[in-house]
């Protein structure tokens, strides 16, 4: 039942004034903590007071209303159909009596143990997760996310409590193999790369992807590294790579929260299913079969003119329904990459990173975060230090690792190999256990408990370096 377009669906009386909100989408948008992308879309609250009132009004909305009133029409959008058709009523039952505000209290309470949170996952829709996140403070987002344990596996085990993994991101502006290998070696010797060794190719075609996939596979095999590789090329390219016999570990795709966004990315749910089947057919996982790697980010729907009047955070969480369908090994919110027209400064980036991580975890995703910024955003390394630390406390699944924080291909700054070690030391977070054992065996870590690196070049890498440098 959709509300009459002319009468506002929601009213809130404050003193002598009545605030109105046209429908659930409008209420969600107005209740969203301030950010530039919602102002750009023209859906943000006009005043701080209107935002606070919207949050009070949203808190009174009963959770079942999100099932009755899809924010994007069921008939028009396969993501909505996925959300509604796959909703698990039995899992929803224990929370079905709650309002959004009551849901927040419940999530924070001792009733919501890690086991209970796991049992209700399939009953929580993206819209419910987005709604409750809008009335949660940063510390709430951290506390509840930490209770949501999500474990995945391929050649190692990702997401165990007390662990933090890293994607080694050895990008190079011309895909030069020596340059890529240099960054890979640097990362491995700084104990990075257990989530995935993942390259964004500069030249994006099947031939190049195959070449990079083979190169990484050879390195992983040669050094017997318990990790997986991925070339972040279009899903249809990866399907072709599999068909041509390339040793594909993980399938990558950027995903959005509406069908029209995904159309603009050039895929649909059937494409992802085909790709997942293709990767599974290779049976390359040794300890698990999670073969998908997804990236998301607030603002992608608006930038594709496909946001249906929704706020960008709600669109973002709908993308997690797409991810959830395909049992990914890793989901990465690339939070500060999109630029200041969507997230203006360090404060907005921080808030978005914590929201995305919480919502992803609540829905059962292995949520990592590219803690990052571009040079035209009002942000710097200190903002990234803060967000990295907060996410580490929140139990974030993985972060990026790149030489000196500087991605020389994509021209943005993300977390460095050093940053990951900082987070390990201050928070006691270990790499994936299989990878941790490898780091000890290879003598990369001198002391795994204290995250102390070997000050000498580990012997297994000496001949490789000798080969390249010769007499230098």
């Amino acid at each position: 039942m959709s509300p009459n377009r002319n009468t506002p669906q929601f009213r809130h009386i404050l003193g002598e004034r009545t605030f109105t909100f046209a429908d659930l989408a409008d209420l969600m948008a107005k209740a969203t903590p301030a950010r530039s992308g919602d102002r750009l879309a023209g859906v943000a609250a006009e005043t701080a007071e209107q935002r606070a009132v919207a949050q009070m009004t949203l808190a009174d909305v009963p959770l079942p209303l999100f099932l009755e009133q899809p924010l994007v029409p069921y008939e028009d959008d396969e993501v909505t159909r996925l959300i509604i058709d796959e909703h698990d009523k039995a899992a929803f039952a224990p929370i079905s009596h709650l309002t959004v505000g009551g849901f927040r209290d419940w999530l924070l309470s001792d009733l919501a143990s890690p086991e209970v949170l796991k049992s209700i996952r399939a009953g929580v829709t993206p819209e419910m997760a987005a709604a409750v996140s809008k009335i949660m403070r940063n510390q709430d987002l951290i506390l509840v996310a930490k209770k949501c344990h999500v474990r995945t596996a391929f050649r190692n085990t990702i997401g165990l409590p007390g662990h933090l993994s890293t994607r080694l991101q050895p990008n190079h502006p011309t895909d030069d193999l020596t340059g890529i290998a240099a960054s890979m070696l640097d990362g491995l010797l700084y104990a990075n790369g257990d989530a995935v060794i993942g390259i964004n190719p500069a030249t994006d075609n099947v031939q190049q992807a195959t070449r990079l996939i083979k190169m990484m596979d050879e390195v992983i095999q040669h050094y017997e590294i318990p990790t997986q590789s991925c070339v972040l090329t279009h899903v249809t390219n990866t399907i072709e790579c599999v068909e041509q016999g390339a040793p594909v570990d993980l399938v990558f795709q950027s995903i959005g929260g509406t069908q029209a966004t995904n159309d603009s990315f050039g895929f649909n749910l059937a494409t992802l299913a085909e790709a997942q089947d293709a990767a599974l057919s290779l049976k390359r996982g040794t300890v698990g079969n999670n073969v998908m790697y997804f990236e998301t980010g607030q603002g992608s729907a608006l930038s594709a003119n496909a946001n249906h009047g929704l706020d960008q955070q709600t669109c973002e969480v709908r993308a997690y329904a797409v991810a959830r369908k395909f049992n990914p090994l890793l989901v990465n919110t690339v939070v500060g990459f999109i630029g200041p027209e969507y997230l203006y400064d360090g404060k907005e980036i921080t808030r978005a990173g914590l929201e995305d991580h919480f919502c992803g975890k609540l829905l059962g995703l292995p949520m990592g975060c590219d803690v990052c910024y571009t040079n035209h955003a009002q942000a710097d390394q200190n903002d990234m230090d803060n967000l990295l630390t907060l996410l580490g406390v929140a139990g974030c699944t993985f972060i990026m690792g790149i030489p000196g924080s500087d991605d020389i291909m994509l021209n943005y700054q993300t977390t460095s190999f050093h940053d990951a070690l900082y987070a390990r030391r201050v928070l006691g977070l270990k790499p994936a256990p299989e990878f941790d054992a490898w780091l000890a065996k290879m003598e990369i870590f001198k002391n795994n408990e204290q995250f102390t690196l070997n000050s000498q070049l580990p012997s297994a890498f000496q001949s490789s370096l000798q080969r390249l440098l010769g007499g230098r």
Binding site: T178, L185, R211, I402, D406, I408, L468
Partner: protein, 283 residues
């Protein structure tokens, strides 16, 4: 334990693989203080970030740049036009890309008046746009245009008909798509936008080039061809001009641009050893 070394040597552990820096611009082999970035590299990073921020926020001196360009013997024989987008300042520009894609009213009027005052049919409009790096525009526009005009003149090396070029437009607070507004108002056959790209930490001075055939307001990127990273340490001027002229010639022949116009200017270079995975990590 190492009493004979200075405290400084004890605190910073150097990486024996730091020579890998010779093979990549990536910040590899930085060494570490404990597990953290050594002071020297921390400060170098902050300097690079400061330069990138300055590239974004320093205003383009369009008049000075125009003066330098118009002093060249290859410059078009008509006065340049100075234009501004609907984004009034940098903060607005950064948050409202839609404003940066359209000319403000005064600029639109100026272009319309010019178009009415001339009878020439322009083959090509050139828009020099500040974008996200005024540094890139100031450093690279003149030498790139010098190389490009070598191709556009009557004595071009390929013996093609010369191009009739509109007055060069200098645009402040502009995005790529503002070229379409300009192309349409000048009634030019195509538009070439030279714009400061989003600055990278190691490349605050990267110039981008976008070609649109028959540019019209509302065109998406699918209608454009792009050449990126034009700067001395990236794609050098003669190469960038060669590629740009290839795209221009193809666009003139096919009367289109964008996804249907493939850049095959390097096809002969791409064939060799593209399947090798050889690298020093594996023998």
């Amino acid at each position: 334990m190492a009493q004979d070394t200075s405290p400084q040597q004890d605190a910073v552990t150097k990486n024996s693989w730091q020579k890998l820096k010779a093979f990549t611009d990536a910040r590899v082999g930085l060494g570490r203080s404990g597990v953290s970035t050594p002071t020297q590299h921390l400060l170098a990073f902050q300097l690079a970030h400061a330069q990138a921020i300055d590239a974004v926020h320093t205003q383009l001196d369009a008049h000075q740049l125009a003066q330098q360009i118009m002093a060249q013997d290859w410059a078009p024989n008509c006065a340049p036009l100075f234009l501004h987008s609907r984004a009034t300042d940098r903060a607005t520009y950064l948050q409202r890309p839609d404003f940066g894609r359209r000319l403000d009213q005064a600029s639109a009027n100026r272009l319309d008046q010019h178009a009415q005052s001339v009878t020439t049919e322009y083959d090509l409009a050139i828009a020099v746009v500040d974008g996200l790096s005024s540094l890139a525009v100031e450093q690279n526009t003149l030498p790139f245009l010098a190389a490009l005009f070598g191709y556009l003149s009557t004595e071009n090396p390929l013996n093609q008909p010369a191009w009739s070029v509109a007055p060069i437009c200098f645009v402040e607070q502009g995005r790529v798509a503002i070229g379409d507004d300009i192309c349409e108002r000048l009634n030019a056959k195509c538009v070439l936008v030279l714009i400061g790209e989003r600055p990278g930490l190691s490349s605050p001075d990267s110039l981008g080039l976008y070609l649109t055939w028959g540019g019209k307001v509302g065109y998406t990127d699918a209608f454009r061809n792009c050449i990126s990273n034009i700067r001395p340490a990236g794609l050098i001027y003669p190469e960038a001009a060669r590629k740009a002229f290839y795209l221009l010639s193809e666009a003139r022949t096919l009367k289109l641009s964008g996804v249907k116009l493939k850049d095959r200017s390097d096809d002969d270079l791409l064939e060799h050893d593209s399947q090798t995975t050889e690298n020093f990590l594996i023998s």
